[in-house]
Structure formats: structure tokens, C-alpha cells
């Protein structure tokens, strides 16, 4: 059974058909890519899968459960972590709190614990802090744990998003243009991080990217979306040489 299965998903924004008859099946431990011109509907697909929008038509199954219509946070708690194309951090919270927050669904001390500060609560908060610090270590920003996110450089903010997404114990990680705003050097770093989390946690990863070097090196299979429809799917090699993809998306000369 695939980890995530999307069948015949279609979505309209008013009269605009943003996604049409989209299918996807991701196995445990795969890294998959989604590319396509701007406005093709890639981010929309992420939003549909994660429950931000509800698809007009289609089925989405995650870990054997149908998740269409579930609220975002329940889908996330099932093990689907994501990052956002335009950063969506919590302005007034520290880096550490960001990562702790994502463990919300794992908390079970309840309101009594929250109001009265029971032993159980203190225990759990402590454990959560430790786990959060480990994750920050993993993405290399432990030393910034107490800083507020607003003043951090863009690249660091991206890492916070990554650590935050990892804290929900994901089985599947959705990354929307994780390299945007990074220079090639940092891009290599990030690739390293992604490989590492992939290996450590055995996660599946599904990512949207415009930086071809990144996609081609990381992904096992890639889909190309144009006007909401998949025009090609295959290994990086196949995609790179697919004339339709070159015409609609890559162009002749590919820069990283």
C-alpha cells in the first residue's frame, strides 16, 4: 500500500481550473519531485493534500485513511509535515517555540496540566524541549534556539520551517520551493540536510522546486505539471530529455 495516494483530483478557484485529474502515489521512503511553470498549480496541489483547500473532486488516501475533508491539523498529526513557499513563521515566537509548537498533537497533559502546571506537564514540556533542540541541531541552528524568528536571515528561517515540519514526526514531508532565496552554496548544505533527515527518519519527501540541479540530484521520480495537468512523469533523466518538458518548462539552457 502506498503511503500517499491521490486519485483523480481536480480543483477549481471560481471558474479557474487550477488542478485537473491529478494522480499520485508515493511509497514509503521515496523522494519525489513536482516541477512546472509558474502558476501551474503545484502549490495548490500541496494545499489540497494538506487540507488547506478541499478538492472539488477526487480521493486522497494517506496511510490507508481517506483524508479528504479532514481539518489540516488532523492530517498533519497523521504524519504529514510541510513547509510553505512564502515563509510562514510565527513572528513573535522564538525558534525553539516554533519547534515545540509542532509537537502539539503529541501533548496529552490536557488543560488541567496547562492551567495548574502538573508534574506530567513539566515532564512533557521538558521532553519536548529536548526533542526540539535535537532537531535544531540536525538542521544546524541550535545556537539560535532563543532568538526571535523575525530578525533571522532568510536561509535560517527556511531551516526553522524545516525543523518545525520535522517535529510533527512526519512520515511524509512536503517541501514547497525549499531553496528559494538561497545561494548555490547554501543549496548544497540544504541538500545535505534533506538527505540526512531522509536517512535518519526514513521519511518520504515530496518537493516542488525550480532549481533543476537540486531536483535532479535528489528525486527518484519527477512529475511535470502544466496548467494543472501532468504532462510528464519519470526519472530525472527522462524528464530532462522530455521534449514536452523542455518546451514548456526547462528551455534549452538550464541554469541551476
Amino acid at each position: 500500500m502506498p503511503l500517499l495516494q491521490v486519485e483523480h483530483m481536480t480543483h477549481f478557484f471560481g471558474g479557474l481550473r487550477a488542478v485537473h485529474d491529478y494522480n499520485l502515489s508515493i511509497e514509503q521512503g521515496q523522494i519525489r519531485g513536482l516541477i512546472g511553470p509558474n502558476g501551474a498549480g503545484k502549490s495548490t496541489i500541496f494545499n489540497l493534500i494538506t487540507g488547506v483547500y478541499r478538492p472539488s473532486e477526487g480521493k486522497v488516501t494517506f496511510r490507508g485513511e481517506s483524508i479528504v475533508g479532514l481539518p489540516s491539523h488532523e492530517i498533519a498529526a497523521l504524519g504529514m509535515g510541510r513547509t510553505f513557499q512564502n515563509l510562514r513563521l510565527w513572528r513573535h515566537m522564538s525558534v525553539l517555540d516554533h519547534v515545540k509548537m509542532s509537537q502539539y498533537s503529541q501533548i496529552d497533559y490536557g488543560l488541567i496540566g496547562a492551567f495548574f502546571g502538573t508534574k506530567r506537564r513539566n515532564q512533557q514540556e521538558k521532553e519536548n524541549t529536548e526533542k526540539a533542540l535535537q532537531l535544531l541541531d540536525l538542521v544546524g541552528i541550535r545556537h539560535l534556539a532563543d532568538s526571535m524568528v523575525t530578525n533571522l536571515p532568510y536561509g535560517v528561517q527556511r531551516r526553522v520551517e524545516m525543523a518545525r515540519a520535522l517535529a510533527i514526526n512526519p512520515k511524509l514531508l512536503l517541501l514547497d520551493e525549499p531553496t528559494a532565496g538561497m545561494n548555490p552554496d547554501e543549496l548544497m548544505d540544504l541538500m545535505q540536510v534533506i538527505r540526512q533527515v531522509h536517512n535518519t527518519f526514513g521519511l518520504s519527501i515530496f518537493l516542488i522546486e525550480h532549481r533543476m540541479k537540486f531536483v535532479m540530484e535528489l528525486c527518484e521520480r519527477i512529475q511535470t505539471l502544466v496548467f494543472g495537468e501532468v504532462i510528464a512523469e519519470g526519472t530525472p533523466k527522462e524528464i530532462q530529455n522530455n521534449p514536452k518538458v523542455i518546451e514548456a518548462y526547462l528551455g534549452k539552457e538550464v541554469e541551476t
Binding site: S43, N47, V52, F84, Q85, N86, R88
Partner: protein, 307 residues
Amino acid sequence: MGYFLQNIVNALQWGSFYALVAIGYSMVYGVLMLFNFAHGDVFMVGAYIGFFTASGLMALAAMGSIAIPGWLILILTLIIAMFLNSFVGMAVERIGYRPLRDAPRASAAITGLMIGIILETGNLALLGAQRRAFPPLIPPTVYKVGGVYITNQKIVIIVVALALTLALHQFVQHTKWGMAMRAMAYDFLVVPLMGIPINTIAALTFALGSALAAAAGVLYGVAYPVLGPYMGIIIGWKAFVAAILGGRGSILGAASAGFLLGFIEIFVTMIFPSTMRDFIAYTIILLILTFLPNGFFGEPYSAKLRL
């Protein structure tokens, strides 16, 4: 039937005031995304300016050789009060809002509230505790049309309210100044990058909003000729309700919500025991917003944020 029609006329007049104050509110709200809680009191100041202007003009007319007719005094009063009050608005912007431009909106709301209190108490301290009687610029003539009593005042008020609403709507939607105002509501930090002077736009917005408040104040003085320092509070808060019920920054929305509020209040009084008016009227509003979570013409809360 006459009873019903009479109440429609009543509601139209009452709604006109909510509408006029609400669009002034909505101007500032729509542009700077700020609650201008001083607006009700700016309205009060407008009414007072109107009072002094009108009294002065009437005194002039009384002693001078030239006979100025009442309607001319009204027009002059409207123009002068609108003009002068726009400076009050600009001063409010300068003192209470410009320094807080990148503060949380709620903080600016508090300064607005405080400026309002200063205007009220300032009035009380300077002009004393007595109420003022607005001079009768157009002596009321009562017409009886098929069991419905209408006065010339009512007609003037409703017509002016509608005209100002439409004019302002045109301005905000279709001129580049209007666009700049709306842009500023969204992200004022980049507005200068378009070569737009933000301080000018902000001042202009407050000036326009306050001019409208003055118009409302003068007409209010004509219809309800008792002025006091606290006259702006209730109408200000209710206009706040209307401005947002109409949808953020939408002039037509604010105006229609203003009229709607007038209609709700009048008709609730007509149908239910009048003691229950606020209870029922606000329950209706609460229900409207529960089912139309973005007001009438508004964008959803998160329109600004994109995934």
C-alpha cells in the same frame, strides 16, 4: 400601511447618519486598516464647528443688510465645516496615527480612543457643560403624503447622504488616489516605492473622512439640534459596526450597512417591544456575521496572506 411607510422614512433618515459616519470611518479603516475610534468624536467636533459657523452666519445675516436665505447658510455651513474639520482629521492623523504607523493596529486603536476622550473632555473644559442648540437653518416644513409625515429636512439629509456616498465610492475605486489609499491599506511600507508620498495619502484620507464626519455632524445638527460633548460616542461605535459589517474598506458596503443598521433599529422597535431593541438588533448583527463571516462586501480575513 402608512405606519409601515412612515417607518421606512424614519429608517432612511436614521440610516443616513449611520451611513455618513460609517463611510468616514470606512475611509480611514479601508486605507490604513486602523480603527479610528476618534471618528465619533471628530463627528462631534464637526457638528460643533457647524454650530459656530451657522450661528456666525446667521448673526451676520441678521445684522447685515444682505439677506442670506437659510438653505444658502446650510450649504455654506456644510462647506466651511467640512473644510475646517478636515484639518482636525489631519491633526488626529499627525498626532495619533503617523507615529504608530508600523505599530500593531490595536495600539493605534487605543490612541484613537484616547484622542476621542481628549476631544470630549477638551470640549467640556473649553465650552462648558451646557448643550448647544443647533440653529434651525431650514425651518422644518411637514408634508403629509398619504398618511406619511415627511419633512424637507429629511429629504435633504437622505439626498446628501446618498450623493456623498456615491461620490466617495467613485473616488476610491476609480482614481489613482483612491487606488493608492487601498494599496496603503495593504502594505504601506512599499507604497513609497511607487513614488507615492504616504504621509500625503494618509493625511488626505483622514481629511476626507473628517470632512464627511463634518457633513454628517452638520446634518445631524439640523435633524437633532442638541449638541453635547458626548454626542459622538454612541453613533461612533455604531458606525464602527456598520463600517465593518459592510466589509473592510468598501464605501458602498459601509453605506449600505449603515442604512441596514438604521432599518434594523427602527423596525425592531416597530415590531418588538422597544425595550428589547438593542438586544434584538445586535442579535441580528451577530447572526449576520456568524453566517456571513466577512461582512457584505468584504474580503476574508486572510486575503492578505497567501499560501
